[in-house]
Amino acid sequence: MLNIGQIEEGFVLDHIRAGESLDIYYKLGLDKIDNTVAIIKNVRSDKMGKKDILKVECDVEMLDLEVLGFIDHNITVNVVKGGKIVEKKRLTLPKEIVNVIKCKNPRCITSIEQELPHIFVLTDPKHEVYRCKYCEEKAVKRI
């Protein structure tokens, strides 16, 4: 693995599908914080061909990684403390995601009432199906 600065405390998100790291950067709200973030793109990988890696220097309690489970639960979350990987977290599908994606159904109440949160609920864990809480339209995961 490339070593772009050692992290003292934070996360190394590994096995991100190539090209998706920037999307994840925004979905995790990393653009809004002042921490050191390394986005490493197109790393060669035996398993995936190419992959992306995100390194985030931060308090490990600070980041909400639930949304990652929705985006891609195959991402490996390495928790770093004292410069060492202390834990590999398993991602699960969150039961509900709020304001991560928008409902695209033009007949949905969220299309006319802007202040409503966009809530999607996991309705079929087997097929990873999320539906809009209001109109039950299926979520389109990949943009």
Partner: protein, 304 residues
């Protein structure tokens, strides 16, 4: 506090209790003439649906309650840009229970989440119309005798028909029901409904012509086939007679068959069928009032 958003909100057992109450209301209307004295129902209709609104209002009036509300968005505060959440908070101060119809899907759920009073979804776009489904179930239960063990034919536009999809889902919770889908190729039942039927191991068949199957049906549920749903006029002219219920077709049906239709009908059931004792669609409208009476009482926590 309990609301009604989808026909599946109630368990089969809870529906049984609700339908028992509705049946008792049918038999002894006098007993229930004052159970809602002093209570008010608000009908908040952001799009016109006169039949549904009047059915709700008749239900509340039959229970001794009174009604208030609006029948289209332009005559309400929504026209001034008020959100559904704000409207329901205000309505909560005026009424004890609210029936809301809205062209946008999920609007009644938004209302329910902020409401201080029970909210009934009276139709939200192409999404849900639970009191229609409850009406259909009560009608079948009352006229067929129970909700298990029959062959039901659903005829007409099975692709876009929200009423039909809801009814199928609701019936899938009962046993030994055989579904016969009668529609033109263009208006076939969607695959996701077929998937649900397969998952539940329900038996079904799909046919093009009503004539071929009418003789085996215990229940025939008719819906409209709209001209504009067809790709071309030629197909419409060629196919439309397959889906119009006539006296001749009724001659092929069982003596015990019951014919239902959510109404309003256009021409898919010829008026000559109306006098046939098996034509039950006007009774169905009556059951719509009974089931709404039972629903209002249940959501208000009132005993008979």
């Amino acid at each position: 506090m309990r609301h009604l958003m989808s026909p599946l909100d109630f368990t089969v057992k809870e529906l049984d209790t609700l339908f028992n109450l509705a049946s008792d209301i049918e038999k002894h209307p006098g007993k229930y003439a004052h159970v809602c004295d002093g209570k008010k129902l608000a009908t908040c209709f952001y799009e016109p649906s006169t039949r549904t609104r009047l059915s709700f209002e008749a239900a509340m009036l039959n229970l001794g309650g009174s009604v208030l509300g609006f029948s289209e968005a332009s005559s309400s505060s929504a026209a001034k840009g008020e959100s559904v959440s704000d409207t329901i908070r205000v309505i909560s101060c005026y009424a004890d229970i609210c029936a809301i119809r809205h062209p946008k899907e999920g609007a009644p759920m938004v209302a329910a989440s902020k409401s201080l009073i029970p909210v009934i979804n009276a139709g939200d776009g192409g999404h849900q119309h639970p009191t229609q489904t409850l009406t259909d179930l009560l009608t079948i239960r009352s006229l067929h005798g129970n909700l298990n063990g029959f062959t039901i034919g659903l005829c007409g536009d099975l692709k876009f028909g929200r009423t039909v999809h809801s009814l199928i889902r609701a019936l899938l919770r009962y046993n030994n029901i055989h579904f016969v889908f009668i529609s033109p190729e263009e208006l076939r039942i969607p695959d996701y409904i077929i998937d649900e039927l397969n998952e539940q191991n329900a038996t079904y068949e799909e046919v093009i012509k009503l004539d071929d199957v009418i003789g085996k049906l215990d229940i025939l549920y008719m819906t409209r086939v709209q001209r504009e749903r067809f790709f071309n006029e030629e197909d419409y002219v060629r196919l439309k007679d397959f889906y119009i219920l006539t006296k001749e077709k009724m001659d092929m049906a069982k003596k015990s068959c019951i014919v239902l239709h959510p109404l309003p009908r256009v021409n898919e059931i010829s008026v000559e069928v109306d006098d046939d004792p098996r034509a039950c669609y006007f009774k169905q409208a009556q059951y719509g009032v009974y089931v709404r009476m039972a629903l209002i009482m249940t959501l208000l926590g009132l005993e008979g």
